[in-house]
């Protein structure tokens, strides 16, 4: 492959991974590369990043694609030529023992180097080369596995040893746990990266990019999010709310021209000899909605409900009032969890604690929850308020209480239903999304980007 082919392929791969790289930016990248030396891979990476990535959330995707297209070494590299996949039932093999010793060493030292000078990165390469090979699989199947190597090496078992070592250095227990966890996580990440690199070498980078690169955090489905993703999303909520709020004030200012302010206009006209060259207007009073949020917090959609609630409450200034109720098969009000300026983590904990109160039998029952809501909080929904229902509409084939929802929606000024599932799943299995959708507007809301757009729209 020539350099140009690599460049074109790389840009193509970025595009298919969701980055909008224009032709002009591709040309910029080439002229940037002409100006730098190529002896350092990180220089090339930084030059590409400066010219092609214009949005920080995309940087993760960019790095993943870059690692696949511009691998840091080929095969096991020059130093690793002697590495053979270990054979036999190796769990007790001396190789493994030796390797784990070296790894423990490298993890324990602050700079990530073993006594023989090998870095964590070198060890990760060795781990995949020796313990991650999967020989004997048919053609077309990947022959390297990060999973296998991590299973065999099991860095997690080194955790206690590492913590003990760090405690000896004078760190307190909690801090030591955190440092140890971070170093082991780092090693795991390196092993995964190296396995990807080797697979890309065999199958061609384009294929691997399609399969392994995940969408950016704001496009990631709530339902497909892993634990670490959820934490990252939680960190995104506050900045997202801030961006939305900034956008809202700006738009309200733009629409601000209310009735003519005669007093100010006449005053200003004195400067121009009594001719009212510029007119002044009174600001328009922004319309604020009263929002009632009704959330399904059963296991399948709990995360989605939490994010939406947090975002709505972070934007509370834009509404005249917000009341939130959670349900599984019974309803409980949670508005008081969201004090102004409350701490994110505490709110999350208190919400999680309330989930048990919202469940009598623990099986989602939309019909029962809606009926109970209408009975217990008849004053919640009025002609000035907007009703927002969050949930996937999967009601375990129970009674749907369609008339109750219809009555609630009829009383409210607006009513929406946010569904975290893809529209193609609506109405499949026990989902009643299509039937509820006939009564209130059903909106697809699968990721932070869509959520942000929706919340912006209703304010």
């Amino acid at each position: 492959m020539s350099l140009l082919d690599t460049h074109i392929g790389f840009v193509e791969a970025l595009r298919s991974a969701g980055l909008s790289v224009s032709l002009a930016e591709g040309l910029d990248a080439i002229s940037a590369l002409e100006k730098v030396h190529w002896h350092d891979r990180e220089t090339v990476r930084a030059a590409y990043a400066a010219t092609l990535v214009k949005r920080q959330p995309q940087r993760v995707t960019f790095d993943a694609v870059f690692d696949i297209w511009f691998p840091r070494l080929v095969g096991s590299g020059v130093a690793g030529d002697g590495l053979e996949p270990a054979s036999g039932p190796q769990d007790t093999g001396p190789d493994l023992e030796r390797f784990r010793e070296a790894l423990a060493d490298a993890l324990a030292s602050g700079d990530g180097q073993a006594q023989d000078g090998r870095t964590l990165q070198d060890l990760a390469v060795e781990a995949v080369a020796r313990f991650g090979a999967m020989p004997g699989r048919g053609p077309g199947l990947s022959s390297w596995s990060a999973y296998t190597s991590l299973q065999r090496v099991s860095p997690g078992e080194l955790l206690d040893r590492l913590v003990q070592g760090l405690l000896g250095e004078g760190l307190d227990d909690e801090h030591a746990q955190r440092v140890a966890g971070r170093r082991i996580g780092e090693f795991t990440r390196l092993v995964e990266g190296d396995a990807r690199r080797r697979i890309a070498e065999e199958k061609g980078p384009a294929h691997v990019v399609d399969v392994t690169v995940r969408p950016t955090i704001d496009r990631l489905d709530f339902t497909a999010a892993r634990r670490s993703d959820l934490e990252e999303m939680r960190r995104e909520i506050y900045p997202l709310a801030r961006r939305l709020a900034a956008r809202l004030t700006k738009e309200q200012h733009a629409r601000r021209r209310g009735p003519l302010d005669v007093r100010r206009t006449v005053r200003a006209s004195i400067a121009t000899g009594g001719v009212p060259l510029t007119t002044h207007h009174r600001p328009k009073r922004p319309h604020r909605t009263d929002l009632v949020v009704l959330c399904d917090v059963s296991g399948s959609v709990a995360n989605f409900a939490q994010f939406t609630l947090m975002l709505v409450f972070a934007l509370r200034e834009a509404f005249s009032g917000v009341r939130a109720f959670t349900f599984v098969d019974d309803v409980v009000e949670v508005s008081d969890s969201f004090r102004p300026g409350a701490d994110v983590v505490e709110v999350m904990d208190s919400l999680a604690g309330r989930i048990s109160q919202a469940a009598l039998w623990g099986r989602t029952n939309y019909g029962r929850a809606l009926t109970r809501f209408a009975e217990e909080h008849p004053d919640a929904v009025g002609p000035r308020s907007s009703l927002l229902v969050l949930g996937d509409g999967r009601s375990n084939y129970s009674d749907l209480a369609l008339p109750v929802l219809g009555e609630l929606a009829g009383r409210a000024r607006h009513a929406w239903w946010l569904n975290p599932e893809h529209p193609r799943h609506w109405g499949t299995g026990d989902s009643a999304a299509d039937r509820y959708g006939e009564i209130v507007a059903m909106v697809e809301c699968r990721n932070l980007a869509q959520l942000g757009e929706f919340v912006h729209g209703i304010v």
Binding site: S20, S22, A24, E25, D28, S31, A32, K35, V36, E42, T43, A46, A47, A49, A50, T51, V53, K54, R55, Q56, R59, H175, R178, R234, R235, Y238, P239, R242, R243, A246, R247, K250, H253, A254, G341, A342, D343, V344, V345
Partner: protein, 288 residues
């Protein structure tokens, strides 16, 4: 034609001399912005040295800094140029009636009556110039349109005078807090750099260089606490500016050791939300 920096290493070294410690990516991007003569868009949380980078480039290259602070409602007249209409009125009144209109017209639309604002000023300068457009995200979309011509061709079209083209292209730095997405058109014309919180080692170096009087051991303790604070879920994580402020506070209080009681007493310097402070108190197990 100026060469701003010889190489990425040269950029790093010269910025270091002015007291701005870069990482490799920052130095390389600053070098590229000079070498390719493209504007540099810097994004990142508040207080990580976005504006400071522009100032450091100006200091390192001996260029003059022209600054355009953006705000909501900024318009052409305050960003680009404006006709000094009061002076024009005087001119018309002073000439009396014997001069033909066409002559007067030619007369009052000349350099003499032009008030240059930062953007035009930066383009017309003959000496090396660093143009800093600060907090671009605060402006309205219309101003972005205005920036396009300036940023891509380094020229400004004034209907009465014609097009003014830069004799010497300025080094343009735009900063943004990402409170709003900038338009694709602006982003496409810029190099992009995301400045983030530095790693512990670089932060130690920065604090030491900014507050040289503080004991190294205390600096290490301070950076340690700040790094831990950033790991918590806070509304506003402390940035470099806060670390430096904290270091100055410790100097002012003449504290020789950053123990838990001192952290608890001076936490207000780094955390500006009360809920953040409570969270930090709890997570760091500080005495109240």
């Amino acid at each position: 034609m100026t060469t701003w920096f010889e190489s990425p290493d040269d950029a790093a070294a010269r910025l270091r001399e002015t007291g701005y410690l870069t990482d490799d990516a920052t130095a390389l991007t600053a070098y590229l912005a000079g070498a390719l003569e493209k504007p540099l868009l810097i994004e990142g949380p508040a207080g990580v040295g976005k504006t400071e980078l522009a100032k450091a480039v100006a200091r390192a290259t001996g260029a003059e800094l022209v600054r355009l602070q953006c705000y909501e409602g900024l318009d052409e007249a305050r960003a680009l140029y404006e006709w000094n209409y009061k002076k024009q009125l005087l001119r018309i009144q002073a000439t009396g009636t014997d001069q033909a209109w066409s002559e007067t017209h030619d007369d009052i639309f000349t350099e003499e009556f032009l008030l240059t604002r930062p953007l035009l000023g930066a383009i017309r300068r003959d000496e090396p110039t660093v143009l800093l457009v600060d907090e671009v995200d605060k402006t309205d979309i219309e101003v972005e349109g205005l920036l396009l011509e300036v940023l891509s061709d380094f020229q400004v079209t004034i209907p009465e005078l014609g097009t003014v083209t830069a004799t010497r292209r300025p080094f343009v730095v735009l900063t943004s807090n990402a409170s709003r997405e900038l338009s694709e058109a602006v982003k496409r014309r810029c190099l992009f750099l995301h400045l983030d919180y530095p790693d512990a080692e670089r932060e130690r170096a920065i604090v030491t260089s900014q507050v040289p009087r503080l004991d190294e051991r205390v600096v290490a303790q301070l950076v340690d606490v700040v790094v831990r604070l950033r790991e918590l879920e806070l509304k506003k994580a402390p940035s470099i500016a806060e670390s430096v402020d904290w270091a100055r506070t410790l100097i002012a209080l003449q504290v020789g050791d950053l123990d838990e009681a001192t952290v608890a007493r001076t936490l207000g310097v780094v955390l500006k939300h009360s809920s953040d402070q409570q969270r930090a108190m709890k997570e760091l197990k500080l005495p109240r």
